[in-house]
């Protein structure tokens, strides 16, 4: 593209290269590819500073990613335990055996009820004696203060907190039942903690993302300043803003990708470490907690976010600082 001269008047004899739009586009892509590759070289040019930037970025992304994993795993625990809810129905005193077994049969016919276990007054006191350690003291009581109870397990459709509550109300209307108890208070609390964590993931992630953008922006700014002379020369020989800015933006994206990868490695390590800490607890609870780490799609999202942050930081910085550099003759 010649602005001041039409191509035929541009130097007699010397043929000016004519290219079609498509060829131009292909050359543009090739030029970009070359810039993408050389922008890695730019990172390599200042290895220590680049490593610091990448490390800071990686660690900044590790925190929200780890919080995300915690929330994800607590939610899955929540789901498991939520469905294991049981309803304890405490029966009125002075019921005859017939009344109890009649009630048992009636409740068993409920569609919502999967199974029912009867715990008699004697069973209750025996269990309490063995588990509470008050065995001796209980012997001094004249009569057994514990009520008989049914432990009802709802069918799977009625195990969710809301449905189980409905079932509890229905069961409480049975005349043999004194009162029922659905132990979901702790679930409600867990839910509250999880949603608080979720919220904090967003807040923390947002803050750290802003700081990542600023870090990248500053690194790119320093890189621009250190190449001021080169940028001036390029401007003098006819480089467009885009041509000068692009390598810096690509460098920013590379920083992002590398930072994202560092975050992935650190998160994997943290999960591995938490797993070994948890295996002790799960040993105590005789349950198996397996922490689910980042899935492949989550890894891709992490990389996408990281490169996006790198891009934004670099773009913001480049837009401000490359334009500021005005060439001079000396």
């Amino acid at each position: 593209m010649s602005l001041l001269f039409s191509s035929d008047e541009k130097r007699q004899g010397a043929h000016q290269k004519q290219v079609s739009v498509i060829t131009k586009f292909i050359y543009f892509l090739v030029q970009n590819l070359r810039q993408i590759v050389t922008s890695i070289g730019e990172i390599w040019r200042t290895p220590v500073a680049s490593a610091m930037t990448i490390a800071v970025m990686g660690l900044s992304l590790t925190l929200p990613a780890t919080l995300h994993i915690i929330v994800k795993n607590v939610q899955s625990i929540n789901l498991e335990w939520d469905s294991a809810s049981e309803i304890s129905l405490f029966l009125n005193d002075n019921l005859s055996e017939q009344q109890i077994s009649a009630a048992m049969h009636r409740i068993k016919t409920y569609n919502e009820v999967e199974s029912l276990v009867y715990i008699s007054k004697d069973d209750a006191i025996k269990e309490f004696k063995s588990s509470s350690g008050f065995g001796q003291a209980l012997d001094y009581l004249d009569n057994n203060p514990l009520p008989a109870s049914f432990v009802v397990t709802p069918t799977s459709q009625h195990r969710q907190a809301e449905a189980a509550k409905q079932l509890l109300l229905k069961l409480e209307r049975e005349r043999e039942v004194n009162f029922g108890k659905l132990d979901i208070d702790w679930l409600t609390r867990l839910n509250a903690i999880v949603s608080m964590l979720e919220e904090s993931v967003f807040t923390v992630a947002l803050l750290l993302m802003v700081s990542v953008v600023l870090i990248i922006g500053n690194t790119i700014r320093l890189s621009i300043i250190s190449r001021k002379e080169e940028i001036e020369v390029m401007k003098l020989v006819g480089a467009t803003e885009g041509f000068i800015q692009r390598p810096f933006v690509y460098t920013g994206i590379w920083y992002g990708l590398m930072g994202g990868f560092v975050a992935f490695i650190v998160v994997t390590f943290v999960v591995w470490w938490m797993q070994s800490a948890l295996s002790e607890i799960s040993g105590l609870y005789m349950a198996d907690f397996l922490i689910e780490s980042l899935t492949f799609s989550e890894f891709l999202i992490l990389m996408l976010i990281a490169s996006g942050l790198g891009f934004s930081g670099a773009y913001w910085s480049v837009h401000r600082h490359v334009r500021e550099i005005e060439p001079d003759l000396d």
Partner: protein
């Protein structure tokens, strides 16, 4: 080729660098621009290369008014002007080849083969083909300046601007450099050289434009050429 029409340039702060300067450099002409430091030589070159814009008046290149060129078009317009600087402004961490190839790479419409061919041709013209793989810092001052000239001519611009190209060189090397310019002028390129090397101007017998405190006090044009 270059035409100034009543051009004045006042810098922010009120310093008047050029005042009502008018001249016309014909196509294929080679001229010297001279004057003391601070007389306005650099400002005049900056107006041509669009580093600065005139406060009043118009600058034309090939009949095109530079006031009409938008900031986004400036890079494209600069590709038609080969510029040579006093301190040559080579990129020290790149080879001679990469330095000379820079304008072609920026233009982005050449294959590697074409770039190589043109870079070699340009370096051949300034007699430095053997130094193609060297880094600028191992070259002498004169050689660095010639690399700068090769970079300026590699994309075959119709116009060359030089700002004190011999300022840092001894007379022998200066002569060499000016001869290089003369060779390009011989094949039709218009050349404007800012210099205060009066001896050289006298030797070359080219047209010389003299600035004094921002005014054009002498347009050393023969009467015939004026018509």
């Amino acid at each position: 080729m270059i035409k100034f029409e009543q051009v004045s340039k006042t810098y922010p702060g009120g310093f008047r660098a050029l005042e009502k300067v008018s001249f016309h450099l014909e196509r294929g002409e080679m001229a010297f621009l001279t004057g003391h430091s601070g007389a306005g030589k650099s400002t005049l070159l900056k107006l041509i290369s669009m580093i600065e814009r005139p406060s009043i008046g118009n600058v034309f290149i090939n009949g095109k008014n530079l006031n009409q060129i938008t900031p986004n078009q400036v890079p494209f317009a600069r590709r038609d002007i080969g510029m040579i600087f006093q301190n040559h402004r080579l990129l020290q961490e790149h080879t001679v080849f990469d330095n000379v190839a820079l304008p072609l790479v920026i233009e982005g419409i050449y294959t590697q083969g074409e770039i190589e061919k043109r870079v070699h041709a340009a370096l051949d013209k300034v007699g430095l083909l053997s130094k193609v793989k060297c880094y600028p810092k191992i070259l002498s001052g004169g050689e660095q300046q010639r690399v700068g000239i090769a970079r300026a001519v590699v994309n075959k611009p119709p116009l060359l601007l030089a700002d004190e190209p011999t300022g840092n060189l001894d007379p022998e090397l200066s002569k060499e450099i000016i001869n290089v310019f003369q060779q390009f002028n011989d094949v039709g390129i218009s050349v404007l050289i800012a210099t205060h090397d009066l001896g050289m101007i006298a030797r070359m017998k080219n047209r010389s434009l003299t600035l004094k405190q921002g005014r054009m006090i002498n347009d050393g044009l023969t009467q015939e050429a004026l018509i």
